[in-house]
Amino acid sequence: DTAVSQTPKYLVTQMGNDKSIKCEQNLGHDTMYWYKQDSKKFLKIMFSYNNKELIINETVPNRFSPKSPDKAHLNLHINSLELGDSAVYFCASSQDYTGTEAFFGQGTRLTVV
């Protein structure tokens, strides 16, 4: 039973397209996150939602828009994809927003061509 699942696992798309990555957690956690792992392997937080409310919004282009329909889901929509958006995107969840351990999904490798 997968705790944090994200789909798709791989996504190849052309520049200028709009795409979405879905994430669901079945752990009953209140907080969910999106992280980006770039080519230098750094994991950087992009967004965090707590009970469907946005609580962390790092310096991310407006083309990235997270949506949390309920606390078990946090989707990431990306408009007008650019080459530099190519990365691995990880969804994660934690029991609350106090910085305790996060449970990560398997990642979505996005390649923009």
Binding site: K41, I56, Y97, G99, F104, G105, G107
Partner: protein, 114 residues
């Protein structure tokens, strides 16, 4: 500004020996530290954490040491096993409005040779 650094990109040890992975941080507001382990094509998995009020936390073969004055933490794995071969990330977070915003290091690839 890289606030969490893992200066050794890779580490190779023999099975049964100790593995020591190091992490340095610059932000004195960090008060909670975590180690994650990551296998290829998988997401990071939480390993062990330590609060700034402690200087050591142990869980089985894994021990994390925190030296606040030096802004340094280390993860000791003993004895090391081939299954421990993975990328290890240290992460740090602070309280208040930044709670939950973990800042990650860039990882150390550990290889444990049989």
């Amino acid at each position: 500004d890289q606030q969490v650094k893992q200066n050794s990109p890779s580490l190779s040890v023999q099975e049964g020996r100790i593995s020591i992975l190091n992490c340095d941080y610059t932000n004195s507001m960090f008060d909670y530290f975590l180690w994650y382990k990551k296998y290829p094509a998988e997401g990071p998995t939480f390993l062990i954490s330590i609060s700034s009020i402690k200087d050591k936390n142990e869980d089985g073969r894994f021990t994390v040491f925190l030296n606040k004055s030096a802004k340094h933490l280390s993860l000791h794995i003993v004895p090391s096993q081939p299954g421990d071969s993975a990328v290890y990330f240290c992460a740090a977070s602070s309280g208040g409005t930044n709670a939950g915003k973990s800042t990650f290091g860039d990882g150390t690839t550990l290889t444990v040779k049989p």
